[in-house]
């Protein structure tokens, strides 16, 4: 069973080393790959200095294109399991083994790390939580399944989903839409409770100005994903 941690990184010079150390310490059976999305800071140099395996995108693709690169890599290198894991220290690697066990034992297609099952750790701001709750409601309406943390970037996929995502993955704000896509294909998705940390380094990709666009775009994307087969 080969397992890969995909670490998308855009200007994460302050958090990338800590993230990789966390993965090495708590999930040693996992291989990992950093996807450097054309960072303008020293992210790439730091990865090279430490000897981290890096896929270096020559053009900035945004989170969707970056993560998809990881899935393509996982697919071509024959990995059975791949997990997205943010490079900014928000995610905790101590949950990875638990997620992989759940994925295998329950024969699931995807396991999402959710902040909102036990409601512990960093819970995001009030307004964002409201937005996330709205997406939970919308996804439940469309697919009939409750995903408590549809925006979670901590998601573990089996070989089937790796292949699907390698072929097709949204370009921006991909998480809720791509969950709907696989649910519509009849894939089994479950969540496990995790704690996340408040961001220490870097800035969120969703600024207040962009949040209106985010809500509209993701809503439309979910509705269209529901129309696809």
């Amino acid at each position: 069973m080969r397992k890969l941690v995909i670490i998308p990184a855009y200007n994460e010079q302050g958090g990338i080393v800590k993230t990789v150390r966390d993965v090495k310490a708590h999930a040693p059976e996992f291989d990992f790959i950093v996807i450097n999305d054309c960072s303008t800071d020293r992210t790439l140099d730091i990865c090279r200095e430490h000897g981290f395996p890096v896929v270096n995108l020559p053009v900035n693709l945004g989170i969707g294109g970056g993560v998809q690169t990881g899935y393509v890599y996982a697919f071509r290198h024959g990995y059975d399991i791949a997990v997205q894991f943010d490079g900014d220290g928000q995610h905790n690697a101590r949950y990875l083994n638990e997620m992989a066990e759940k994925l295998m034992e329950e024969q699931l297609d995807m396991v999402i790390g959710s902040r909102y099952i036990k409601k512990e750790g960093f819970q995001s701001s009030g307004l964002r939580r409201l937005g996330i709750r709205y997406f939970t409601w919308l996804i439940k309406l469309i697919t009939g399944q409750k995903i408590t943390d549809p925006t979670s970037g901590m998601r573990m996929a089996n070989r089937d989903v790796i292949e699907l995502y390698a072929k097709n993955y949204p370009k921006d704000y991909p998480e809720p839409e791509s969950v709907v896509t696989i649910l519509k294909k009849g894939k089994k998705v479950e969540e496990v409770p995790v704690q996340m940390n408040a961001r220490e380094e870097g800035v969120s990709s969703i600024s207040p100005k962009k949040s209106v666009y985010y809500m509209i775009k993701v809503t439309l994307a979910i509705l269209i994903a529901a129309l696809r087969r």
Binding site: P53, P58, V59, L61, Q68, T69, V72, K171
Partner: protein
């Protein structure tokens, strides 16, 4: 429409058409994109040389003023063209993304091969 303005418009159109063809000749413009511009240029040129053709069409469509028809068709043409460009940009964004990913992955596998060689 006075003869003077007709002649000026005709000259401008012919110059524009000539420069489009010249750009295609020098491969500065893809012929697929030049086609819609060439055809719209030729249509306007026909209406310019034969204003009676325009009167006939205006009458046929029941539009009051020829100028209204020109604005209407001009606007439709522009919308059509802009939408065509939007779809092309979407497709190219996808192609560019794939190329970028392939290039990065290729670089990675080259690195791996080099490392293996050195060992």
């Amino acid at each position: 429409m006075s003869l003077k303005i007709q002649i000026i418009v005709a000259i401008v159109l012919v110059l524009a058409l000539a420069s489009i063809i010249n750009m295609v000749r020098k491969e500065a413009l893809d012929i697929r994109f030049a086609l819609s511009w060439l055809s719209v240029g030729i249509i306007v040129l026909i209406f310019d040389i034969f204003p009676s053709a325009m009167d006939w069409l205006v009458h046929l469509l029941g539009i009051e003023l020829p100028v209204n028809m020109m604005f209407f068709f001009g606007f439709c043409f522009t919308l059509f063209l802009v939408f065509g460009l939007t779809t092309k940009v979407s497709r190219q964004a996808e192609q560019l993304k794939r190329l970028t990913q392939e290039m990065a992955l290729l670089e990675k596998s080259l690195e791996n091969a080099k490392e293996k060689e050195e060992q």
